[in-house]
């Protein structure tokens, strides 16, 4: 019997949304549900393990990868509001299990169904257009290294932003350059990290934007914290999903 299949995704919340940005989690759920996707949230989820991977603690990273596999293996699809976490699951887990082909197969399967939310909307739901935002403000987009080079997503978020904001969307100069966060780099070499952050904030100020959207809350945590240090607290840093839900529900939160 041919039944219309509802898509089902499991939300991977990510640490930053868990601790700092509940709005990003809520927006992700609402956006997916508005397109008829069934969303569940496995409560046993924790962290993808990226901080341990990138600081050379591969043993701990393995343990966390295995936990992630346990929690999400049976999901139809996994969607996270974070390019860096998705990059970790898709590209960084496999090398941790060299010489364990059965596990690698399972991780390969996992990788094939893990998406960033904007990516999911574009590549899987095939959403061609988003409705206009009810109260558009001048906004720009921080493309983030993991969005560009980890999951290979170029131009998609920018298109959605143009659709929602029209002429209020301004591209960011030197978008290809890292914002300076780099995980542990931000606290190991804070002066360099700070200078790179200043350059990025300088470009944001040049655009005249009051809102900065991205697909990586880790970058935005670093940039917004730096913005507040530099008296740029008026800048609003959001995940793209937060703007999307405002456009889809016709109201600003």
């Amino acid at each position: 019997m041919n039944m219309p299949t509802t898509r089902r995704v499991s939300l991977f919340l990510t640490c930053s949304a868990d601790a700092l940005y509940p709005g990003v989690g809520r927006a992700s759920v609402r956006v997916l549900e508005s397109y008829g996707v069934d969303v569940d949230f496995p409560e046993e989820q924790t962290c993808c393990g990226q901080p341990w991977l990138n600081t050379g603690d591969t043993k701990s990273a393995r343990t966390m990868a295995l936990h992630f596999l346990k929690v999400f293996e049976r999901s139809e699809a996994i969607v996270a509001p974070s390019s860096s976490c998705v990059d970790t699951v898709r590209n960084r887990y496999l090398p941790l299990f060299k010489g364990e082909p059965k596990l690698q197969d399972r991780f390969r399967e996992l990788a094939s169904k893990t998406y960033e939310i904007c990516e999911y909307m574009h590549r899987i739901l095939d959403i061609p257009e988003l409705p206009p935002h009810p109260e558009p403000t001048r906004a720009t987009y921080h493309s983030s290294c993991r969005t560009l080079r980890g999951i290979g997503l170029r131009g998609v978020a920018e298109n959605y932003l143009k659709q929602m904001l029209g002429d209020h969307f301004v591209p960011l100069p030197d978008a290809d350059f890292c914002c300076g966060f780099g995980g542990s780099f931000s606290v190991k070499f804070p002066e360099v990290s700070g200078k790179m952050m200043e350059d990025k904030l300088g470009n944001i100020v040049l655009t005249g934007a009051s809102t900065v959207a991205a697909l990586d809350m880790s970058c935005l945590t670093h940039l917004s914290a730096g913005a507040r240090r530099q008296n740029l607290g008026r800048l609003r840093f959001v995940h793209l999903a937060e703007l999307m839900v405002e456009a889809l529900e016709g109201k600003t939160r």
Partner: protein
């Protein structure tokens, strides 16, 4: 050996305060990147070239000794004298002996990062041999008694005004000369030295195994001078520079020229196969080639083998956001930037260069532009696990993060503390965070998990 223990934190902190150096570095890095991008865009099969370059280099790094022997045999057949140097000290000893055996007291030198690696100038000077750098960038830093800060453009950190001041001081030129006049002054000063030097020293961009040839590229003409005028030519070449056949050379040249300077080919290319032959009117009487190992055969057998494929084009440096923010000297290593952060710890030891694999945000730009697809970010990440055992706090945090109930508790605690404005338990790490940032600010309202539980109950 570097007398100062490298400390990237301190060096980078000082570097970011020097806005003049950052401006100079970025100006040149931007230009080099733009030129490369243009050249690559005008080369329809560049991606295929990159794949070819990597594949061919894998053949070589898979059996360095075989290719080294083949090169040595063919070079010798053409009349060159080939010396194998296990390490930097041996290379320096060999160079001094070659000079001494031939009564060479003065030398002119083309740019060579390999010679920098073995600190050749210092060794020769200590043995009473005067070495004059002839590449303009190297000439400048030699006058300033500095080390190169970029593997392709050594004086990238100096502005024109600084160079003019340096020339006035050391060469007696009029103050505040423009670029053309500065170049003319260098030409004049070096011309005499070229004509009278006993020995010419170069590196080698490529060494061709099947013919025993050395390929040297330059834009200035100093390499041609250095390899034509003096009676002895000494080339110092790492065994990783060897490529199998002459037929491979045009493709590798295509990769190097575009990635280094955005060119199809440099102004000058010399393919040197042995010294002057009977009947020829110019060229050195003797050609000595020092084939340097210095850890390369060890690296070839390990997990970081592909770093030996590096063409020394400098593209990764010019594109690296960290290098562009601190310049080359902050790395306190012969080779700075992304490729330097991999090879410096491998050659000199992880204990010395423990910082460098961490001096990187893993942004991935270097891997995107590397002409031979060296997986630099992967290597930098892996080197981090080689450097030291993870700190106990990280292990503890991993345990907590991997236990769902502890993790959930941890999130709640963090959220509460940050709402209050403090950093609480994380204060030590976050002391560094607050060097340039305010503490992270949580969004208002209930946590996501609470929201989810409420709505699940309502359903």
């Amino acid at each position: 050996m570097n007398p100062i223990a490298p400390n990237f934190r301190k060096a980078s902190r000082d570097a970011v305060r020097n806005s003049q150096v950052i401006a100079a570095v970025r100006k040149t890095a931007n230009l080099l990147s733009e030129m490369m991008a243009l050249a690559v865009a005008n080369t329809p099969d560049f991606e295929a070239l990159r794949d070819y370059g990597r594949a061919r280099k894998l053949e070589i790094s898979g059996d360095l000794e075989k290719y080294a022997q083949s090169f040595a045999a063919n070079a010798q057949a053409a009349g060159a004298v080939v010396h194998r140097a296990r390490d930097a000290a041996e290379a320096a000893r060999l160079a001094i002996k070659i000079a001494a055996d031939n009564g060479a007291k003065t030398a002119v030198k083309g740019k060579s990062m390999t010679a920098e690696e073995v600190e050749l100038n210092e060794a020769l000077e200590a043995a009473g041999i005067t070495v004059t750098e002839t590449d303009l960038g190297e000439f400048i830093i030699q006058l300033a008694k500095e080390k190169p800060s970029h593997i392709m453009a050594p004086a990238i950190h100096r502005s024109r005004a600084q160079v003019a001041e340096l020339f006035t001081d050391k060469l007696g030129t009029p103050p505040d000369l423009g670029v053309e006049a500065l170049v003319a002054a260098a030409r004049k000063d070096l011309r005499e030295k070229f004509l009278t030097a006993d020995m010419g020293i170069t590196g080698g961009n490529f060494a061709i195994a099947d013919t025993g040839s050395i390929v040297l590229v330059s834009n200035e003409g100093n390499i041609r001078m250095t390899t034509t005028l003096p009676r002895i030519h000494l080339a110092v070449v790492g065994i990783d520079k060897i490529i199998p056949e002459m037929a491979d050379m045009p493709k590798f040249l295509a990769l190097l020229a575009r990635s280094a300077c955005g060119q199809t080919i440099s102004s000058y290319m010399s393919i040197v196969t042995g010294p002057r032959r009977t009947g020829e009117e110019e060229g050195p009487e003797q050609l000595h080639i020092i084939l340097l190992d210095n850890g390369r055969s060890r690296i070839a057998k390990g997990p970081y083998r592909e770093i030996l494929h590096c063409l020394h084009c400098g593209a990764c440096l010019s594109h690296c956001p960290v290098y562009r923010t601190v310049g080359g000297h902050a790395y306190q290593a012969t080779y700075p930037g992304p490729m330097g952060s991999v090879i410096s710890p491998l050659i000199s030891g992880l204990e010395i260069y423990a910082d460098l694999p961490n001096a990187c945000t893993l942004c991935g730009r270097c891997a995107e532009v590397c002409p031979v697809c060296v997986p630099l970010p992967d290597y930098l990440r892996e080197l981090r696990s080689d450097v030291k055992k993870p700190p106990f706090m990280m292990k503890l945090a991993a345990f907590g993060a991997n236990t769902p109930s502890l993790y959930r508790l941890g999130m709640i605690v963090m959220r509460r503390m940050l709402k209050k404005g403090g950093m609480g338990l994380m204060a030590p790490a976050l002391k560094e965070w607050t060097v340039c940032r305010e503490p992270p600010k949580p969004q208002e309202g209930e946590s996501f998990r609470d929201w989810w539980r409420t709505r699940s109950h309502c359903k």
